[in-house]
């Protein structure tokens, strides 16, 4: 077990691609850290540098306080799980798991004992004599995990270990990974671009974009206090709604209506001036008829026509189209590109709201919608910064 420190680690490929830039991160002993970000943002490259499979162009990597930049992978005592599982096709499950131990020249009895133990933990005992070709995806994944845990390494590195599994199995394996890590208490760096995995698995999440860290924090903190547009849009599903806004005469003017600004907000916003983007999470809307008077004045109301209502049982997703311009910023375009879906062909912005199940709103209805002004974020479209952050915490519009 070990702590891992990345100190201004940078990777420039020979062709000039700057895959990772000045990556700073301190991973504590036993911590479970998630690297998440859109495709091509440098997650795998970062992981490979920690593993030693990729040279570090500049900066320093320390494991247990020791500089390891120039150490070969085999001297770093780190285990890795690959997306492709990378099982040796010519070896049985037992031989696969025993491989690192054999190379470490352990005695036959000890190898057998450790492999049997790991096989028991991962429920692989019945499969020990099979070849990888004759295993299901989930079983192969478990063998890959088993090969990593048998030798009790200082740290685990996992590069999208679950993304080749189908959705149901992925949920199942997620809990297996989580339990295993808690039980072993081994420092783990886990790469994913599934945000459910990011939110549920890790102690801390590192959000990356184009080779640079955007924000590091506990999942809830990232969700509540995103430092910029990118983080705000990346975390959360369905994602945050973004609308263009301006401030004048102490009021926030949006296509949903004009909202009052609190004193502190007015100060924070005045120095940014000009155009803004307002970000509101789906759950911070509610059917106005269901709002109790005690909290009603913390927000504002507006009317809109529901395009589509999806009932999830526990709650309802209601989709509106808001007339007027769309919010535009480089970050938002990048997020849309990563999500794969181009913009829907509609005149205005799409608004996704989560109402409680009691809401009677139906498709085509004009609904009165209440929005919680305490929870909304304002972003500067030029650099994507969250201007409502105050000492790292977000402040709503009314405060």
């Amino acid at each position: 077990m070990a702590d891992i420190v990345l100190d201004k680690v940078t990777k420039a490929f020979p062709d000039g691609t700057l895959a990772v830039q000045e990556f700073n991160l301190e991973i504590a002993d036993g911590e479970f850290v998630i690297l998440v970000g859109p495709s091509g943002c440098g997650k795998s490259t970062t992981l490979n540098m920690i593993a030693g499979l990729e040279d570090i162009s500049s900066g320093e990597l320390r494991i247990d306080g020791q500089r390891v930049n120039d150490k070969a992978p085999r001297d770093r005592d780190i285990a890795m799980v690959f997306q492709s599982y990378a099982l040796y096709p010519n070896m049985t499950v037992r031989e696969n798991m025993a491989f690192p131990l054999k190379l470490a020249k352990l005695s036959k009895e000890e190898i057998d004992r450790k492999v049997d133990e790991a096989a028991k933990v991962l429920e692989l005992t019945a499969l020990l004599d099979r070849k990888p070709a004759n295993l299901s995806g989930g079983q192969r994944q478990r063998v890959a995990m088993g090969r990593a845990i048998v030798r009790s390494p200082k740290a685990f590195l996992m590069d999208e270990p679950l993304s080749n599994l189908d959705a149901k199995l992925r949920v199942q394996m997620r809990t297996v990974v989580s339990r295993l890590q808690k039980r072993l208490g081994t420092t783990t760096v886990y790469v994913t671009h599934d945000q459910t995995e990011a939110m549920t698995l890790g102690d801390r999440v590192v959000i990356m974009r184009a080779g640079a860290i955007q924000q590091v924090g506990e999942p809830q903190e990232l969700y509540d206090n995103p430092r910029n547009l990118f983080v705000a849009g990346f975390i959360g599903s369905p994602s945050m709604n973004f609308l263009p806004a301006t401030v004048s005469e102490g009021r926030l003017r949006t296509s949903l209506g004009d909202f009052p600004l609190g004193d502190r907000m007015r100060q924070q916003v005045s120095d940014s001036g000009g155009d803004l983007i307002v970000g509101i999470r789906p759950e911070h809307f509610e059917d106005a008829s269901l709002i109790e008077d005690s909290i009603r004045q913390r927000g504002a109301e507006f009317e809109a026509t529901a395009d589509l209502v999806e009932s999830m049982g526990s709650d309802k997703y209601v989709y509106f189209t808001v007339e007027g311009e769309k919010a535009s910023a480089a970050e938002l375009e990048e997020l849309a590109a990563d999500a794969g879906g181009g913009d829907l062909p509609s005149g205005g912005s799409n608004l996704v709201c989560r109402f409680s199940a009691e809401s009677r709103v139906k498709e085509g209805d004009t609904a009165r919608v209440w929005v919680n002004l305490d929870k909304i974020h304002l972003f500067d479209p030029s650099d994507g910064r969250n201007v409502t952050l105050h000492e790292g915490k977000s402040s709503g519009v009314v405060s």
Binding site: N48, A51, G52, L53, A72, P73, R74, I78, A79, M80, F82, Q83, S84, A86, Y88, P89, N90, M91, F99, P100, L103, A104, K131, A133, R147
Partner: protein
């Protein structure tokens, strides 16, 4: 589990439906197979005409005493020719020489070819140039290459003649064999390398990375991960080269013409058949070579499980 459960108590109705479906599928399959045969019939016919006929004709000739110098004595003698050949010292000497050339050249080619394949696979700059340069020997006609080797070793004029002191290396048995093998190796190593490079491409990058993480040294990665994954490709390369090497002819014909007991079995068959005009004995030797080649192929396919790369169990998804 689930299949066992569902198969346990099928209703009669579903059984009948299944059987019907099965029959329909196999009917479709049969049609498909028929079409398949029809489509390859022309090729199969040509193959039969150009290979099966000569082979069968050789076998027929090998059962006869048939020397064109004494055409009147033509007569069916069964296995007589085989007895003559197999009890003859010349045959066994040639056979030994052939085996020696085969084993040595294929072994050396495997090692060199692997190194060459690795270089071709790993070069990042000037990849095309490296590959082209490596393949040049294979692109030269064997006889032409053999002549240039002969000139190179000719005393007085050859540029290699003086390398191992005075004397004519192509006039002594050991040095002649060494030169024949050298020419063979020089010529066909690129072919070996090409086949092995296809095998190298079969090894996923992640597998080598995983092995590094598991603590393998470069050599261990090669022997414990790459070689086993490449095994099908290596066996195919070995099979091709062994069969080829066993039929060695051109180099010997040009370099020594079989002098000083350097004949291979192919050389011997040629001498008897074309030079000696003894169709019976020559054909017998050809048939024996054919049998030897078949045995080699059989050993590779059945004993080592040689198959096309990727069709082996490990390569299946």
């Amino acid at each position: 589990m689930t299949t066992a459960e569902t198969a346990e108590k099928p209703t009669t109705h579903s059984v009948r439906a299944q059987r019907k479906a099965k029959a329909r599928i196999s009917e479709g399959k049969r049609q498909e197979r028929k079409l398949g045969w029809l489509l390859c019939a022309p090729a199969a016919f040509v193959m039969l005409a150009v290979t099966a006929y000569p082979i069968l004709y050789s076998v027929w000739l090998s059962f006869q005493r048939f020397d064109l110098k004494f055409p009147d004595q033509r007569e069916f003698i069964g296995l007589g020719n085989y007895w003559t050949v197999l009890s003859n010292d010349y045959w066994w000497t040639a056979f030994g020489i052939t085996m020696l050339i085969t084993v040595v050249t294929v072994a050396v080619e495997l090692v060199l070819g692997m190194a060459l394949a690795w270089i071709m696979f790993r070069t990042l700059v000037g990849r095309g140039l490296v590959r082209t340069a490596a393949l040049i020997p294979y692109g030269i006609v064997t006889v032409v290459a053999a002549f240039s080797w002969r000139f190179a070793w000719t005393p007085e004029t050859g540029y290699l003649a003086g390398v191992f002191g005075e004397g004519a290396p192509l006039t002594e048995r050991a040095s002649s064999l060494a030169i024949i093998m050298l020419a063979e190796i020089w010529k066909t190593t690129p072919f070996m390398a090409l086949l092995l490079m296809a095998g190298l491409a079969l090894v996923p990058d992640d597998l080598l990375k995983a092995a590094s993480m598991d603590g393998a040294t470069g050599w261990q990665r090669f022997t414990k991960v790459m070689l086993p994954v490449m095994k099908p490709a290596i066996l195919v390369a070995l099979l091709f080269r062994t069969l080829d090497a066993f039929r060695v002819f051109d180099n010997i014909y040009v370099l020594t013409a079989g002098a000083n007991n350097t004949s291979s079995v192919s050389m011997l068959a040629y001498n008897n058949l074309i030079r000696g005009l003894n169709l019976g004995i020559g054909s017998t030797m050809s048939v024996l070579i054919f049998i030897a080649v078949a045995i080699i192929a059989f050993i590779f396919v059945k004993l080592f499980g040689t198959a096309a790369p990727g069709s082996e169990e490990g390569g299946r998804r």
